[in-house]
Assembly symmetry: C2
Homo-oligomer: 188 residues x 2
C-alpha cells in the first residue's frame, strides 16, 4: 500500500498542543517516522511535546526551508511508494497556508499520494471568526510591502476591494512592526 | 466579572467530535448553559455528543436562523453583564466563516465582551491546505451564482483574478450540484 502525506498543525510558543488540537494529531505523530519540516529544531520540540514517548533517534527529518534545493525536495515523498507515510510540519499554524508546504502537497498530487489535512489552529481563520466582519467573502493577502509608499498603496487597494466587493481583507504582520502598521492604517 | 462569547466549532454528520477538535471544546461546552445556535435540533445533538453528562434541560438556546428578528438578537448577549458566558454554534464548521454568526460577534465587540474562538475543522482551510495551490494569497468567495450565464461570468472573473494576482480562489457548492459545477468549470 502506498503511504500518505499528513499535513500536521503545530503550536506557537509554550501552548500545550492538546489544548488546541485534537488527539488524532498526537496519534498520527506517534505513528510516523518521516517528517518534512520547515525548521528542524522546533519540529523536534513539537514532536517531543505532543508524543513524549516517541524515540527521537528514529526520526528522519527532511528540510523544507528556503535553501532546500528543488531537486532534493522532489525526492522527499519517494518513501511513500514503499508504504511509508510522511508528515509535513511548518513553523506555526497549519502547513501550506501562509507557510511553506504547497510545493510538497502539489508533488503528492502529481504522484497520486493521498493528502490528509489535520485540524489545528490557524491565526487567519481564528482572526476571521473573531472579527465580526464578513465571513462569506474574504481574502488573505500575506504580508503587505515594507516600503512606505508601496505599503500605503497596498492599504488603499485593500480598502477599495473591501468596499467594492464587501470582501474582508486579512493580512499578516510581524509583532515588532505592529505599531507602525496601525499608524499607517490610521493615516490612510 | 463580565461573561465571554465562545465561538464553538461543530462537526458534520457522524464524525466523533474529539477526533477533529481539541478537548478544550468539550471543557467549554460542559461549562456553558447559554448557546446561540443556527439550528436548535443539530445544536442539541452536538452538545449531547461532545458533553454526554451535561443535563439537556438546563440548556438555554437562542436561535440565530434567518428568521430571527434583529431586535431580538440584540438582546442575546445581555446575560454576559451578569457574568454568564455564552457559546455561539453554527450548523457545521466554525461560526461566522461561511456560516452565520458575524452579527453576534460584532455585537460582542460593541459591548466590550471578549470573543474567544476555539479550534475546529473548517472545510475552507482544509481545502486550502490540501490543494497544493498558493496559500500565501487566497480568497473565499462563498457560493457562485446559480443562473447559468451569471455563473460562467463568475468563473471567468475568478480565473482572471487567479492569474492576475496569483491568488487562489475558493468557493463552496452543495453536493447535489457538484457535477454540474465541474461541467461548467471545464466548459469555461
Amino acid at each position: 500500500m502506498i503511504g500518505k502525506l499528513y499535513l500536521i498543525p503545530t503550536t506557537l510558543g509554550d501552548t500545550e498542543p492538546l489544548e488546541v488540537m485534537p488527539i488524532s494529531v498526537k496519534k498520527v505523530v506517534e505513528q510516523l517516522d518521516y517528517f518534512i519540516v520547515e525548521n528542524e529544531k522546533s519540529a523536534r520540540r513539537f514532536i517531543k511535546k505532543i508524543a513524549p514517548k516517541k524515540p527521537q533517534d528514529s526520526l528522519k527529518l527532511m528540510s523544507l526551508d528556503k535553501y532546500a534545493e528543488e531537486i532534493e525536495t522532489q525526492a522527499y515523498l519517494d518513501e511513500c511508494k514503499n508504504g511509508i507515510s510522511i508528515g509535513l510540519l511548518s513553523e506555526a499554524g497549519v502547513p501550506a497556508v501562509a507557510d511553506p508546504g504547497a510545493t510538497i502537497v502539489n508533488l503528492a498530487h502529481e504522484k497520486g499520494i493521498q493528502v490528509v489535512p489535520l485540524v489545528g489552529p490557524s491565526s487567519i481563520l481564528m482572526a476571521m471568526m473573531s472579527s465580526g466582519m464578513n465571513g462569506q467573502n474574504f481574502a488573505f493577502n500575506g504580508y503587505l510591502p515594507i516600503d512606505k509608499g508601496e505599503r500605503k498603496k497596498a492599504i488603499k487597494d485593500l480598502e477599495k476591494l473591501s468596499s467594492d466587493k464587501n470582501q474582508s481583507q486579512i493580512f499578516i504582520e510581524t509583532p515588532y512592526r505592529n505599531e507602525k502598521m496601525f499608524a499607517d492604517l490610521k493615516a490612510v
